[in-house]
Structure formats: C-alpha cells, structure tokens
Subunit: 355 residues, 2 copies
C-alpha cells in the first residue's frame, strides 16, 4: 500500500474525464457512472435539491404521519426488450423492488407507465405485462397505478417502461450509503457482470453464442433474511449501471471512507470473463440486475454469510474487501499479480441501454 499515492498520480491522467460541460446529452450521461453523476450535480441537484432528494440513495426515505416509507423511480429502456434470463417487464419490477429493498423496506406498491411506439406488437406488450404480473406476484408487490402513452413510429424505440415503487421501512436507521466505517467488511452477493454481458450477446450486431443468462432477479427476500440476522448492516446497494466499481465508489464517496478490494476475491463467471476480454470490457464496470453489495460490521460477517449462502441469490456470496481509513472516497484494488490500482467510477459509457 505504500506506493498508492504514487499510483494515484500515475493513474489519474490515464483515466480521462469526459468533458461534461459540453452542451448536449451524450450516452455517457445515462451510464450511471461519472457523467451521470456530473449531470446530477450540475443540472438536477442545483434546482431540485432538498433534504429528501439529497439522500441520493437507491430509494428516498420519508415519514408521513408515523409511517416511514421508501419511494423510488426508474425508467427502463433496455434493448433488446426480450433477452436471455428476462425481459423489460420483469426487469422493471425487479429493479424497483430491489431499490426499495436496498433501504430495508418491504416493497408494497408499484406503478408503471408505458411509452410505446406506434406499430409495437400487442402480442409483445401482452408478454411483457404477463411477465410483470409474475414478477409482482413473486415479490408480493401490488400493482397500484398505470399510464400508457403512444408516440409516432420512430419517435421511440419499441417500448420504454418507468416504474415507481413504494415500500414500508422496517429498520431504523435504514441501510444507507453513508454509514460505512473503517473496519467494516465488503460482501458481494454473487458473480458479477452477467446481465450486461447477456444483453450484449443478445444484440443483433454481436453473433456470440453463449449460455449466459441475465442475473435479473428480485433481492427483497434475500435482503429481508440478511436484515433479520444482521440489522446492523450499514450499506446495501444493488449493482446496476456502472457495475461493481461504480457502486463501490458511490459508497466510498457517501461514507467518506476508502474501500480496498481484492481482484481475486471477486466472483466472475468464466464465460463473462472471456467475453469481456474479447470485447475489451472490464467486468467490474458491467451491470448486474440481481446482485448486491453489503457493507457490514466485521463481527456480523460470519452469521450473515451463513444466511446468504442458504438463499439461491446469495449462495455465492463472498467477502471481497474491507473499508479503510486511508484514501477516503477512493476505491483501490489489489490485483491478482500483487499490484494495486485505483478503481474509478465508470467514465463515459461502455454499453448503452442495458436497463
């Protein structure tokens, strides 16, 4: 670790920040990485900030009378809309369920709005709605409200779905991004990068034959089990756009701590690793849709891992690192060959429209 400050100096210029002061929206602004975060800080927060929005967590938390609620919204523009392991319908329900779950909330109600292009096959819509129905049933969330808009052919690509979720908080304090403290342990719930890789392979332009399926799944049950055993979990975040590296940076940044991870501890499926290598992608930045990062007190780790390993979505959970006092707001990774490198947030966009 002694050479880390030097590494920072070496790596910083190699990882250029895109010019976010440019005057148009670029794909990177939707990446969930550095450009998204710049857009948030430069455009949205200066106008809209308030105590609730400023939490900047997977779901906002608020109290109405004595009821503590979690509230979240997300749009889904994934392409293709049907992919190995899921579709835009189940993805949009699971995504919202997962965002509520990351605050320890019980998902209660979901609403969804559909923007469709003229000419979109109603049979496809039916498949999507059926998939949402199953996902709602599976996660015990009630579909409360909906809206449909249709735009002229060519004014949207097939179908976009926006879901909004309302959950009931169970724990106080709720897990949140800024609670990590040095000495805490970082756990990932399973192997990373499946969703993004599955989407990429499903795109028409790539003729890659693989058996990779998206990891798209609802994490509510796993999280409830985890919190029952370990209510002291500090931070929970599902790994979506921007991948593991971006999520770890968000947590390090919100908690003002350093995070040290070990490359060899990160579970990555061999096919995912090969395809990423082939296409020049770093799996640490590839999205999942059914994986989470948990930061927990050292004393709780053993019990927590036991519980996670009993759940199908946590059976490959692993410790990947720890929270450190050094280099606050930075994530650094010990490589397989013993070196160390800074992991920054995703810069630019490596794979648009994965969710």
């Amino acid at each position: 670790m002694s050479d880390l400050s030097q590494s920072v100096a070496i790596f910083a210029p190699v990882c250029p920040t895109p010019n976010n002061t440019s005057d148009v929206i670029r794909l990177g602004h939707g990446s969930g990485g550095k450009m998204s975060s710049d857009l948030l800080n430069n455009v949205f927060l200066p106008a809209l900030n308030n105590r609730v929005l400023d939490q900047l967590d997977d779901a906002a938390v608020m109290a109405i009378n004595d009821t503590r609620l979690a509230f979240t919204i997300d749009s889904y523009v994934v392409s293709p809309i049907f992919f190995p392991g899921g579709d835009i319908g189940s993805l949009s329900v699971y995504g919202t369920v997962n965002d509520l779950s990351m605050r320890g909330a019980i998902p209660a109600y979901i609403s969804a709005s559909f923007i469709m292009e003229e000419g979109f096959p109603i049979a496809d819509l039916q498949k999507i709605v059926e998939s949402m129905k199953k996902a709602c049933f599976e996660t015990n969330i009630q579909f409360a409200a909906g809206d449909t808009k249709v735009v002229n052919r060519g004014a949207a690509d097939k179908i976009f779905i926006t879901t909004c979720g309302l959950g009931i908080l169970q724990y106080n304090p709720a897990p949140t991004a800024n609670r990590a403290v040095p000495g805490d342990i970082v756990i990932v719930s399973g192997d990373i990068g499946l969703h993004g890789t599955a989407i990429m392979c499903a795109r028409e332009s790539f003729e890659l034959e693989t058996t990779i399926q998206s990891d798209s799944a609802p994490l509510n049950e796993l999280v409830q089990e985890m919190l029952k055993t370990c209510p002291a979990i500090r931070c929970l975040r599902d790994i979506t756009r921007g991948g593991l590296a971006t999520v770890l940076n968000e947590l390090a940044s919100a908690s003002k701590v350093g995070i040290e991870i070990s490359e060899s501890a990160i579970p990555i499926d061999a096919q995912v690793a090969s395809i990423c290598a082939l296409l020049g992608l770093d799996p640490l930045y590839v999205a999942c849709e059914g994986r989470l990062v948990a930061i927990v007190p050292d004393s709780d780790v053993e019990g927590l891992l036991n519980i996670m390993h009993q759940h199908r979505l946590g059976k490959n959970a692993q410790i990947i690192g720890k929270v450190s006092q050094q280099y606050p707001e930075r994530v650094f990774m010990k490589s397989r060959i013993g070196g160390q490198r800074i992991l920054d947030k995703l810069a630019g966009e490596q794979l648009p429209r994965i969710c």
Copy 2:
C-alpha cells in the same frame, strides 16, 4: 328526450369503433379515449387487476398503517416540449399534482424519470428542470427521487418525462369516479380545449398565428378550497386526453348513471372554437391541462360556485348539466339548436402527443 333510444340506434353505427383486436399499437391507444380504454381492459387489467388498481381513478388510494395515501404515475411525451403557456417540465409536475388533487389528496412527494435522446441540448434540460422546480415550489410538493436514461440518437424524440406522485388523503370517502347519483349537478371549472389547441398551433406544420396559451395549471389549491366548502363533492376529474366528452363518459360509466349536458353552457374560447372548426376538430374532445369536472349534490352547488369564482382557475366555472337516471353509462348533449346527441368517448386519436 323521448327520441334518445332512437338516437342511440342512429348514432351507434355512425361512430365506428376502431378495430382494437388488431395486432399492433396505434396512436389511438394513447389517446385516453375508447382505444386506450380497450387496451386497458384487454391487456393490462386481465393481468394486473387487483382491488387498488381496479379503482381506475386519477390516482389510486391505499392505506399504509393508518395513513391514507394517493399514488399516481404519468408519462409526458408532449411535442413540442416548449409551448405557449408551458413546457414539458411544468406540465409533468402539474399533471401529477392534479391527479392527486382529484382524489382530494394534498400533494406531498413527486419523483421523476427522464428519458433523453443523445444530442438533446443540456440548456433545454436546464430550462425544463428549472420549470419543474418552480412548479414544485408553487404546489408545495417535494421532489423526492429521480432517474435519467439516455438512448441513442433517434431512439426517442428529444425528452420524455415520467412523474409519480404521492399525496395524503384528507377526506373520507375521497372523491371518486363512481359516486355520482341522479340529481347531482355537473360543473366545469373553466373554458375547455385551450391546451390541445395551443399545442396544435405550436406544431411546426401548422402556421396558425393565435394568442392561445395552454391552460396548464395546478388545481390543488382550487380543489382544497372546493372541498373545504363542500366535502360532499362526489367526483372530481381533470380534463386531459380525450377532452370533456371522454371524462364525462368515464364518470357516467363508473357511476352507472346518465349525464345530460347542454352545449350552450359549455365555456369555449372564441379562438379555440374557430381553430377547431377550421381543422375539423370537436373541442369537446380536445385536452385541457388545468380544468376539472366536478359532480356535486344539488344543494351544494351555489356555495361551491361562489368559492370557485373567487379562484383564478375557477373564475369561469359553470354548471353544464346534471346527472340523470335515464340511459345509464351514456352522455347526451342538448345542442344549441335544440337537438340531442350522444357524446361517446373519443374514438381513435385526433391529436397525438398533447401531453
């Protein structure tokens, strides 16, 4: 009225129902009229129906612990995004505030998700976000959560915004579509059709010079004044897609009553009337974004109109008709020249992307 059953027989075949069993989404499916309602009944409700969704009101109502909440979602795809009297930003906030208000709820929290096309000017985004900020401030709703997605150039038209609102119910029972009873009076809060006409004139293809401005406005304050004076208001609905005729049909249908209105009582601005005549549109089907229909007990009407007339958004409120026992689930209109005609829901789409 004696010839109404005959009128039904005469008019039914003249007003053809589009073939909603066709296999693709058409613009009419987003009209808010008959095709939207068919899509809802044929695709969404069979899969997703439950006690909450089945309310089919402007906002769903649910109780969490002892707190009664209203919950609503809407997407905005209006074109152009800046129009006389408003823009997609304020429209998306007002629309959600209005949907909550129609259940008598106090708007509390709003979330918004932005889908943008690569290349969209950040300066335009800033104007839109600034407009949303003002609208939130004006309606005292707190911006709680957001999301941003970017799609490739050409995969969306500029920007689409989805807003979701959470409100706190004040009245029990809340105003709802199925509470109208024969003898009730039907009130409209102001002149109709401004929004749709303003949008149409603002489209590049129409070179119409007018001073028409959209009526886009938040109805929360007006509704709170109305409910303070008259907590017995049976139904409230803001007049959006599908226009006055469609809204009245929805109320007649939900309450299983007839509604009789008088053409000469309906306030329509002279410019709106001329432009609609020029373009062959019926103003009764043109959207507003700051007008409502209220159905109220006869005994409360005088007091209610007094209160409405004191508010800038209700100063032209008028009685336009009454609820009748005859011809349940039908709306009929006495024309200026003394005849009577059935007003059906909007069939097809006369003006896509007005909200």
